[in-house]
């Protein structure tokens, strides 16, 4: 929460509050400010108590990320009914080793989220250009040779830029596969080479000695590998128009969960803002305008209560993210960021709600605003799944700004410059909307 901003006097004829009121808001001395802070705190507390009395709304807000998180973990463990990535496979080598990769990618766990189609390279390019597949994997000529010679080999994976989630799944899956092939190479490379060269002396049958020594050799290699990790010799290269940060943690943790978390924050803000109307209708707002503390403290209490709620929901979201493998160290920053964004979004929606002339009007207005904000700002479909023009606009929505930085924080690769800009923009927007809300509430809103 940012500190209480100073209030300016209104200019309209109706607003003739004297300079003394400003003084009272700023607090003349230490005991005065203490009283204000206590009022702020008790205001937040009373709103929180009232929230807790409505567990249904709370359940929706906290349950949303939980529900989505559960759904995603089902996806990542390969449950049924999951969208599959369409992968084109070009086998230019056509050897036992390359066929092994093809088989591996069409069976077992990989088959749960990949539909693999073998194509020629030209055919594959055409289909990729037409956007008919998520990715194309090329096993280059000489792939088996490279494996047998323990030479670096490179699989080329081209992903479809218009689809971003599914290709990422493919990439992660193939990473695993490539690792498996690497270990196979480490274990079997030398014996395989000897077998491929054929029996010594040009015969057609291996001698018992050779077989025995091959067995011992294989056994030793397995033993040697058990506790050692080698740098992989086979690399998976993904030519991509933009450089991407190394993807070590799943797409669920760094894309889907943050997306859903911001969806929750949006709904919390939209729902909590309705409270100003409730206070107006039940007359408690007018009563609070008659106390000797500036109404700004009362409204700041509401924002604080909203931030507390955002913090709880964030906590749930971050537990899921942690469970999906994000290191603990990245979470405190993400927590602060989300709570801050929750408060900022509440300032924004308080502003929208006080613009309307009736409660129904406010409900309509905030609904009309929240859905485009959610869709454009990447809080429903992640940016990664959006067309570029939409991303370009959406990144500058308040939730888009916040959501993007949350993803960066979770990936452990925040750009501090961008983060600072986002923070300033969000603080500025909150301050402006909060001040306008205070003025409206003190003026026409409360007494109309």
């Amino acid at each position: 929460m940012q500190g209480p901003p100073p209030f300016k006097r209104g200019r309209s004829a109706e607003r003739k509050k004297g300079p003394r009121e400003r003084e009272a808001w700023r607090g003349a001395g230490a005991p005065a400010i203490q009283k204000k802070m206590r009022y702020l705190w008790t205001s937040a507390l009373k709103d929180t108590k009232r929230r807790l009395a409505d567990p249904a709304a709370l359940a929706v807000w906290i349950g949303l990320p939980l529900f989505v998180g559960t759904l995603l973990s089902v996806i990542s463990s390969g449950g049924g009914g999951v969208p599959k990535a369409h992968v084109l496979l070009v086998d230019q080598d056509d050897t036992p080793a390359s066929r092994l990769v093809v088989t591996a990618s069409t069976s077992g766990r990989m088959a749960d989220y990949l539909i693999v189609e073998r194509v020629t390279e030209a055919d594959g390019r055409r289909k990729m250009d037409a956007g008919e597949a998520s990715a194309m994997l090329v096993l280059p000529k000489g792939f088996q040779r490279a494996i047998l010679d323990e030479q670096p080999a490179e699989l080329v994976l081209t992903t479809n830029p218009s689809q971003r989630i599914l290709p990422q799944i493919v990439e992660e899956g193939l990473d695993m596969l490539v690792e498996a092939v690497f270990y196979a190479q480490q274990i079997l490379g030398e014996p395989l080479r000897r077998i491929a060269q054929g029996p010594e002396g040009g015969g057609s049958v291996f001698s018992s000695e050779t077989i025995a020594s091959l067995s011992v050799d294989i056994n030793n290699r397995v033993a040697r590998l058990q506790n050692v990790v080698f740098p992989p010799v086979i690399g998976l290269r993904t030519p991509s128009p933009e450089a991407r940060t190394p993807q070590t943690i799943g797409v669920m943790a760094t894309v889907m969960t943050p997306t859903m978390l911001f969806m929750s924050l949006l709904f919390i803000a939209q729902g909590s803002a309705r409270d100003i109307w409730q206070e107006k209708i039940q007359g408690t707002l007018r009563r609070s305008l008659a106390v000797p503390s500036h109404i700004g403290w009362f409204l700041a209490g509401k924002v604080l209560a909203g931030a507390a709620l955002a913090a709880v929901v964030t906590l749930v979201g971050l537990v899921i993210v942690r469970f999906l493998g994000v290191p603990l160290l990245r979470l405190p920053g993400a927590f602060v960021w989300c709570t801050f964004n929750g408060a900022a979004l509440l300032c924004l929606f308080n502003f929208f709600d006080t613009l309307a002339a009736t409660e129904t009007g406010a409900r309509m207005l905030s609904t009309i605003i929240v859905f485009p904000m959610m869709f454009m700002g990447g809080s429903f479909f992640p940016f990664e799944a959006m067309p570029p023009w939409m991303q370009a606009i959406g990144r500058w929505t308040p939730n888009g700004l916040g959501g993007q930085q949350l993803k960066a924080l979770l990936r452990g690769a925040p750009d501090y410059g961008e983060l600072a800009v986002a923070t300033l923009v969000i603080i500025g927007l909150s301050a402006v909307t909060f001040l306008i809300t205070v003025r409206r509430v003190r003026g026409a809103f409360a007494t109309s």
């Binding site: 009022y39 039940q282 007359g283 007018r286």
Partner: protein, 309 residues
Amino acid sequence: MIEVQDLRKQYGDLVAVDGVSFTAAPGCIFGLLGPNGAGKSTIINCLSGLLPPTSGRVRVLGHDVVAQPMEARRELGVVPQELALYEDLSARDHLAYRGAAYGMSGSDLKTRVDEVLGIIGLQDRAREPVKRFSGGMKRRLNFGCGIVHRPKALLLDEPTVGVDPQSRVRLLDLVREQVAGGTCVLYTTHYMEEAQELCDRIAIMDHGKVLAIGTLNELRAMLEEHDLVRVRGRFDPTRVRQALASLDRIDVVSAEPDLVVVAAQEASRKVSAILAALTQSGGEIQETSLSQPSLESLFIKLTGRQLRE
């Protein structure tokens, strides 16, 4: 002390309060009596700082409500006409929150909350959410919220609306207790009996203007001890006026096809003459009543209509 000087409040073209002046002294109950829409709540809202006056001055204990709003509000307790309560919070939560809003804290606040719970008789239900309260209990809590911070001036805007006679008596007692402690009370109502019973001074209002102001006795004197004779039936208003004009020292307050109201001193002696005149004018008498001078008779005399219409 509450001072209102030439107060005027306009909503667009509508003049809700039109040049009202009065002073309410400490230890007294000042009543604002008037029908719906007279402008009572508007005056209360100007005093509590909710509405800026269009012109005129309002002061609470010497502090100008516009120029020194925080000082004025500190001394002021407000009990609004509509219930202003949180359905999900308890009585104790309400009182503690209102106290904190006026800068109270710690043991002082706690003691005072217990005290007020005792005053409004809600100790037993102190921890229940307000949504389980009856209307009368809510009214009492609404009142309690206005007195937690021991205000020196109290604004009560029709605090007894919609409560049963028993709760009403209880609430009026609460108001008297406050006044006994030296508080200055401004009390609005459209119940004559309430104003008559409770208030030391009364201003009678209609259409944003004060029609008469004074103690109950002073107001009665304005009626010149006139009694009111009210006759229901069927009449011809013109002929009624002609017939009654011949009678000495009576005042026709209103003559309508179904109701004739006449004001006269010692009216009981003149009732037979009045009835005779009405019968002669061709009227048909169904019901007759005689009332002693009261605020209602004064209001009728001042405005030509009944307070509750």
